[in-house]
């Protein structure tokens, strides 16, 4: 009872949609997009949209999807969201083969898959704010690989997995010229919200939160040099300057030309492909975006909502005074013990 009341209270904040998510099959068989509670998949080989089959009936996810990923070398796909469900799909037929319900928000995979994993190898200590994203990188020359992390402290860091030692820190915010003084509290640090490595792990694409007056709308490319164990900013791709003033957040864009060898020449710019240059172009966009052309108004509304959602995700929950009082009144650790 009390819980429902609380939740209603929380839902009263600004309208928001979950940030859109995109996942590409490891050998490019298909591409998936999650927008709010909607999951859309496009088969790149057949060149057509996929319909997902979930025997549980009803909508696939009842609330915002927060994570999607291909696994098992592309044989499986998982989606998880605020409805506290984790759904596992086979990418052969796009059937949902298992739905796992987690009591709390989905943050840890339930049902003891880690039973027996008690020995902690290492702690990677160094970030001065929350860690928002992680990825392992390895190459044939470095089969053990490394860990890359992004954080609210505006840095991306490279770690030795065995010892947990910090190998290199890339001050992404500073290098992109995004740190600005906001008067009283000194610097403001835009958070790293997501990162993703190319299949050969030489490049890492980094997404940075828009905040204050930071103007970067796009991704930053970091190149990863394994022999020297360093990360360095390879390119700042302001997608925004390629499409005028309209916010680009709600558009699916395909960027091409990320080749390590190319990065040595400053002239080379990764290209954002025009809609008609994308393989199976319009059909794909229609599926993933809902339509090929998106009205300016819709775009900016969506961008605004995503921004709100991202902020809510990144900030610590703040309760109003009344809400705090309400929580205090209903605290059950103070109630009489039976």
């Amino acid at each position: 009872m009390e819980e429902t009341q609380m939740e209603e209270g929380e839902n009263n904040r600004d309208v928001e949609v979950a940030p859109a998510l995109i996942a590409v099959h490891p050998i490019q068989k298909s591409v998936a997009v999650a927008i709010g509670s909607d999951l859309r998949v496009f088969d790149l080989q057949a060149g057509c949209a996929v319909s997902l089959v979930d025997d549980s009936g009803g909508p696939l996810h009842k609330d915002s999807i927060r994570a999607i990923r291909f696994g098992a070398e592309g044989k499986l796909f998982v989606s998880a969201g605020d409805d506290k469900l984790v759904k596992i799909w086979t990418t052969e037929s796009w059937h949902c083969i298992s739905t796992v319900c987690s009591e709390k928000r989905v943050t840890v995979f339930p049902k003891n898959p880690l039973d027996g994993a008690h020995e902690i190898q290492s702690f990677c200590l160094g970030h001065t704010e929350f860690v928002s994203c992680l990825t392992f990188v390895c190459t044939p020359d470095y089969p053990l690989g490394f860990l890359v992390s992004g954080s609210g402290d505006s840095t991306v860091r490279l770690w030795d997995i065995t010892s947990g030692s910090l190998l290199h820190t890339c001050e992404v915010g500073a290098e992109a010229g995004l740190l600005e003084s906001n008067g009283r509290e000194g610097q403001c640090y835009p958070a790293i919200t997501d990162l993703c490595a190319t299949p050969d792990c030489t490049l890492i694409a980094v997404a940075i939160q828009r905040q204050c007056h930071c103007s970067l709308q796009g991704v930053m490319l970091i190149s990863c040099d394994f022999p020297t164990r360093t990360l360095s900013v390879a390119k700042v791709t302001g997608v925004s300057n390629l499409c005028g003033d309209s916010p680009s957040l709600a558009r699916v864009r395909v960027i091409s030309g990320f080749k390590k060898s190319n990065l040595d020449s400053i002239e080379h710019e990764p290209i954002v492909l025009e809609d008609n240059a994308i393989p199976v172009g319009e059909k794909l966009l229609e599926k993933l975006q809902g339509s090929v052309f998106i009205e300016e108004k819709v775009l900016s509304a969506a961008a605004e909502a995503v921004k709100t959602a991202m902020c809510n995700l990144l900030i610590k929950k703040q309760y109003s005074t009344e809400k705090r009082e309400f929580r205090k009144r209903t605290r059950n650790d103070r109630k009489i013990k039976h």
Binding site: G116, H118, S122, F123, L125, T128, K316, N332, D333, K337
Partner: protein, 252 residues
Amino acid sequence: MLENQANSNFSKSTGLPRKRFYRARAHSNPLSDSHFPVPLSPSHVDYSLHYPQLFPSSDQGDDSKKIQFADIGCGFGGLLISLSTLFPETLMIGMELRDKVTEYVKERILALRVANPGQYQNVSVVRTNSMKYIPNYFEKGQLSKMFFLFPDPHFKEKNHRRRVIGPHLLDEYAYALQVGGIIYTITDVEELGEWMKACLEGHPMFEALADEELEADPVVKLLSSATEEGQKVARNGGQTFQAVYRRTMLSL
């Protein structure tokens, strides 16, 4: 010392801080965030602040000498004071969540150092949340003893995750303890005693000490007698339940 005597928080006769000026809330919620500085990593722990005589400045002193005993939720610090003279060569630290209680222990140690020159230089205390920041203070395998004396019971099942002993936290303690290191627990709450024992028993990296080993270990005797909480329980003739386990190598 002069300063101390002028301060009414200190007893005139003994020079020790008076506990009643350091009363604090009985419990605080270890899962809520508070604000106190946390070292970025074990190498950032400033030993010269904690053990100024042994580490005259941040870069002086025996680098290889590290904290080996940790008293988790040390309360008013009775155990540390006893251990300090029993193991004069070992560096030890208390971790305590409540700031006033931590202040009290700090003052207590300072006063003891003044009253007993050369002694109590190996003991210190820090205000922190042990449920979150153990890895920030200790490297893998750094500790040889960890103490959990009369921890808060958190009776309700919903609040069991606030208990300082639990399956996942034991993973962290196993990380901080060297192989052969010992974890000491004691409580006057039977249900909690059973819980701590069950958690340790069920963990693949801990094994119970044999009765002869418990007999031979001088530290075991301190568990029920050295701390303020232990003394209170003893005064009231209460029963205690202890579990003492060794960190073992994980056999796969």
